[in-house]
């Protein structure tokens, strides 16, 4: 799975999140998009829902990884802060898998 594939999965999950959001609070589909934390578009349950959608898309491609393990939650620089960091985190997890 390439970086582009992973980014597409992330954007698909963001598009799914946008389905349930008002027109004036749509999340931009960009690598710079802030996801969670200061300036992020997602609250804690929004993040959960978003990560579940990504995990399921990965599972449908035969990749079984857990994005919300304790390590991710305790990292000083959260991998969930923006699209780019999340994409890098997924690449790292797949590499370790």
């Amino acid at each position: 799975m390439t970086n582009d594939d992973i980014q597409k999965i992330i954007f698909d999950a963001l598009a799914m999140a946008n389905n349930g959001r008002e027109a004036d609070s749509q999340i931009p589909l960009s690598t710079e998009t802030q996801l969670y934390g200061t300036g992020g578009h997602l609250d804690s349950m929004g993040l959960v829902s978003f990560l579940v959608d990504i995990e399921e898309s990965l599972q449908d491609s035969g990749i079984y990884i857990s994005l919300s393990d304790e390590r991710a939650m305790s990292q000083q620089n959260s991998p969930f802060r923006d699209v780019q960091s999340l994409s890098g985190f997924i690449v790292q997890l797949i590499g370790e898998n």
Binding site: V48, V52, D53, E56, Q59, D60, Y64
Partner: protein, 234 residues
């Protein structure tokens, strides 16, 4: 006319799970069932998955297949469960492990894996199964009742965490019903239990179905985190 629902029932091959599956199949809903055994129900609107609910890989595989069958789930009914009667001091660790793996871990995994499908439903519901052995604190049922206590707490907390997705989560605690789960329990013991209920008679699968129907109604969207026992047990 009501729109058919997409419902996943664990432990659907016999007992209460089968009765629930047959009810929803008859009503025209799309029913997905799982059990350790091969398919025993045959209907156009029924799809069976062979899965051991205590196995994470089996559950992951089942949900992968399920996502190919349906884009959303209206209800998850965590019915699969095992019981074992024994004096606490004599209960082998193996029994403890097996009961918790099925009743607690199985419910946990299914609730977790079903989130993605449930949140795409207009009226998503989770129904867990508990037992009157919890409020009765039945001797000889310490491990089974403890496992169901865990399910009850999980139900209440899940109601809060999944509430933001519009998912309600409730539990049904049947009073004694003649199913495989209580086969082998002495009749006088069952009668003694029934005599402690406000409504002193055995329950039937229809009593559970009635309550499940109630939780699944679109109008029941404000009812969550509730543990409802049959027979007037509280």
């Amino acid at each position: 006319m009501e729109v058919p629902k997409h419902i996943l029932i664990t432990g659907a091959s016999r007992g209460l799970g089968r009765a629930l599956a047959e009810h929803f199949i008859h009503r025209g809903d799309f029913v997905y069932g799982c059990s350790r055994s091969d398919q025993t129900l045959d209907a156009e609107n029924y799809c069976h998955f062979k899965a051991n609910i205590s196995s994470e890989s089996d559950i992951s595989e089942m949900f992968s297949k399920l996502r190919k069958q349906t884009k959303y789930l209206d209800a998850l009914i965590n019915n699969a469960g095992i019981a074992s009667m024994n004096a606490f001091a004599l209960t082998p660790l193996e029994s403890f492990t097996k009961i918790f793996a099925t009743n607690v871990q199985g419910t946990f995994l299914c609730c977790q894996k079903a989130l993605g499908l449930l949140k795409k439903s207009a009226n998503p519901r989770i129904i867990n199964m508990t037992t009157v052995a919890v409020p009765f604190q039945l001797e000889g049922e310490s491990i089974y009742a403890s496992s169901k206590s865990a399910v009850e707490t999980m139900t209440r907390i899940l109601a809060k965490e999944y509430g933001s997705f519009g998912i309600t989560c409730n539990a049904i605690g049947p009073s004694p019903i003649a199913t495989d789960l209580i086969r082998g329990v002495a009749i006088d013991k069952i009668q003694n239990l029934v005599n402690q209920q406000a409504i002193k008679k055995m329950a039937t699968a229809d009593d559970v179905i009635n309550l499940a129907d109630f939780f699944l109604r679109p109008e029941s969207g404000m009812i969550s985190g509730q543990i409802v026992y049959l027979g007037g047990v509280s």
